[in-house]
């Protein structure tokens, strides 16, 4: 309550000051903007230069609008930034994993803006916001379209909203182009992670599965994923036919996706699937398909989809 009160007074005072300055000093360099975040209105600097991203979606958006952050968190299961982003920057300090942020490493970078994940714990927010203005998206639960709002919010925070909108438009154009290919009937598709004892079916409400849907595919999770969960429990091999579809995307954290496909094909139950007989099983990069989000990730996923569809 106290901090909200303080914030309100501060914005009030700032608005007044802004009006006065706007009248008296049109060329002033001092200007701050405010953003609507999960922790209320946050004032951010006009042209941030020392940005730290604590969320893969924020890093993706920053790079999409040509802003190289100083620090970032690792991709899931990896010890660095996701592979699809590495060609886009020179050097980024790793400041922890998304669930365990190294606050000292963040402080050492002396950030002037922090872009944080949705559902950042309030205790962490309090610490981070003392280092620099911290932007937390309003996203609730699993929402396959939330990444768009997040990208716009991060774009605004970086004062590059137009660039963020352009990045979204590129994704939309690509989606429309792919969706046009199968205008008559949407091919069905399932995304799974393969384990030796059976697959885990990924929710149809993830970033990647939402994109596939927008690209004109009919995603389903075989009614196996509970509300609010990212994936199902390990499906019994006896029920493997439930994941049969026109397309089966096999996400793996292995760099060599073929290995995972070979492992799956060694299982007699997998080899019986129709989708395997039609050779429409596509090994995909798990970093990209089950961990990343943002406009660049969207384009990379759609490239992989395009490649798979074109091979047919």
């Amino acid at each position: 309550m106290g901090s909200a009160h303080y914030r309100g007074r501060a914005t009030g005072r700032m608005k007044l000051a802004g009006v006065l300055l706007g009248i008296m000093l049109p060329m002033t360099a001092w200007a701050e903007r405010t953003l609507e975040t999960a922790f209320g209105e946050v004032a951010v600097p006009d042209s941030p230069t020392r940005v730290v991203t604590l969320y893969e979606g924020a890093l993706d958006t920053a790079l999409a609008v040509d802003m190289a952050p100083l620090g970032a968190v690792t991709t899931r299961g990896g010890d660095g930034v996701a592979d699809y982003l590495t060609p886009r920057f020179d050097d980024i300090a790793i400041v922890g994993v998304v669930r365990e942020i190294n606050l000292e490493a963040v402080l050492a970078l002396e950030p002037d803006l922090i872009l944080a994940p949705p559902r950042l714990p309030e205790a962490q927010y309090r610490l981070l916001s003392r280092m620099a203005p911290t932007v937390v998206p309003l996203t609730q639960g699993f929402d396959p379209d939330a990444w768009r709002d997040e990208a716009l919010l991060f774009g605004r925070a970086l004062n590059r909203e137009a660039e963020a909108q352009a990045a979204l438009a590129r994704v939309d154009a690509r989606l429309a182009e792919l969706a046009d290919r199968h205008a008559d009937e949407a091919p069905s598709a399932v995304l799974v992670r393969w384990m030796p004892q059976g697959p885990m079916v990924m929710s149809e409400r993830l970033f990647s599965t939402g994109l596939l849907r927008d690209a004109g595919m009919s995603l389903h999770d075989a009614d196996l994923v509970e509300e609010g969960r990212p994936h199902s429990d390990t499906l019994s091999l006896e029920n493997l036919s439930r994941i049969d579809a026109d397309w089966l995307f096999l996400a793996t954290l292995n760099e060599e996706g073929r290995d995972a496909l070979d492992a799956a094909q060694a299982s007699p139950a997998f080899a019986r699937l129709d989708v395997v007989a039609r050779d429409q099983v596509v090994p995909v990069d798990g970093q990209l398909w089950t961990s990343a989000s943002g406009p660049l990730a969207a384009l990379a996923i759609l490239d992989e989809l395009d490649e798979a569809l074109s091979a047919q």
Binding site: G77, G78, D79, R193, W194, M195, P196, Q197, G198, L224, S232, D233, T234, L235, S236, L237, E238, N239, R242, T252, L253, N254, E255, E256, D259, A260, A266, S267, P268, A269, R272, Q287
Partner: protein, 340 residues
């Protein structure tokens, strides 16, 4: 066998009838394992397929999914039950269990390291798991020989729990560091029979046979060892050699079981416990009873793991822990801890 202090009233019970009863139960469990599953092939369809006249789907599920995991469950159950019985006899501790003492965790950790280093072959896995189990066994024996710890069963288990915790966290650490092997390693944290194939068994068969020969050779000296080192030496046995042989057999058995099904805890605790309750403390009788008891526990737990959350499956290691933990608590809470 004239009674020493270890063979009291228990040995006069009827192990033979127990053996017959357990074998019958095991046969029923195997049948149930073929008939029940998480899928659409229910008991009637499965029964038809079993009699050779079912639809192709049912025949596939039976022959390629349920039969292999049942057979693997039998083998893993025998290996873990016998290994637990041997480990308890050699440490003279009723709580000694490969899963609790870090032997399984050692095997799983060794496999995880091998995976990170780039090994993919299933055959290599068995040897690596056995080496890891061996290292775990030696750690356990090292602790058991520390003055005092060997006579306090709970302290040995505490040491084993610490070792298991250490090895499990090291395995998880590998998960963090190597994304390439991550999906594979996840399997080595909790055991399962799902997706196992009969050719997995071929790789472990030689070491199981070797372990069997060792067990036959050491059963009698081990029973003598239970009377005390001096008596065993007086009977012409070499306690050091016997211990070493037993440890080798335990490592072979646990390593083979872990390489096939991942770490499955508590089987080696519950099975010898039940065997002693039925046949008394003589290792030569309990070992025989472990043969049907081990698979009975593993196969039954596997059936439950398929049915509880159908159409998904639970990891087998979770279920054996659910049955095993109460037995552990009961043994520890018993006013007079049985000494072996």
């Amino acid at each position: 066998m004239t009674g020493g202090h270890v063979s009291g009233a228990g040995s006069t019970r009827r192990p033979r009838r127990a053996m017959a009863g357990l074998s019958l139960l095991l046969a029923l469990a195997c049948l149930a394992s073929l008939l029940l599953g998480a899928g659409d092939v229910g008991p009637m369809r499965a029964l038809h397929a079993l009699l050779g006249q079912g639809d192709p789907e049912a025949q596939f599920v039976l022959a390629s999914l349920r039969l292999p995991r049942t057979v693997v469950g039998l083998v893993v159950g025998v290996a873990l039950g016998v290994a637990g019985s041997l480990l308890q006899a050699v440490t003279r501790n009723p709580l000694a269990e490969p899963g609790l003492l870090g032997v399984s965790a050692g095997a799983a950790f060794a496999v995880a390291v091998a995976l990170v280093l780039g090994a993919t072959a299933t055959t290599l896995r068995v040897g690596v798991a056995q080496l890891g189990a061996m290292a775990g066994c030696l750690c356990v024996l090292g602790v058991a020989r520390v003055s005092g710890a060997g006579h306090d069963p709970v302290r040995l288990v505490l040491a084993g729990a610490a070792l298991t915790g250490l090895l499990l966290s090291l395995t998880s650490l590998l998960l963090l560091f190597d994304q390439r092997a991550a999906d594979e390693i996840r399997f080595w944290v909790v055991g399962s029979l799902a997706g196992r194939r009969l050719d997995h068994l071929q790789a472990i068969l030689p070491s199981l046979l070797l372990a069997g020969v060792i067990v036959l050779a050491v059963a009698r000296p081990l029973a003598a060892l239970a009377l005390g080192e001096r008596i065993a030496s007086g009977l012409g046995h070499h306690p050091g050699v016997i211990r070493l042989l037993v440890i080798v057999a335990v490592a072979l058995l646990v390593g083979a079981a872990t390489a096939t099904a991942g770490p499955i805890a508590f089987v080696g605790l519950v099975v010898p416990f039940a065997a002693r309750a039925l046949a008394g403390p003589d290792i030569r009788r309990t070992l025989w009873l472990c043969l049907p008891l081990g698979p009975l526990m593993v196969v039954t737990a596997d059936i439950v793991s398929r049915l509880l959350v159908a159409p998904s499956e639970l990891p087998l290691g979770v279920l054996t822990a659910l049955c095993g933990a109460p037995v552990l608590v009961a043994v520890v809470r018993a006013r007079r801890m049985p000494t072996l």
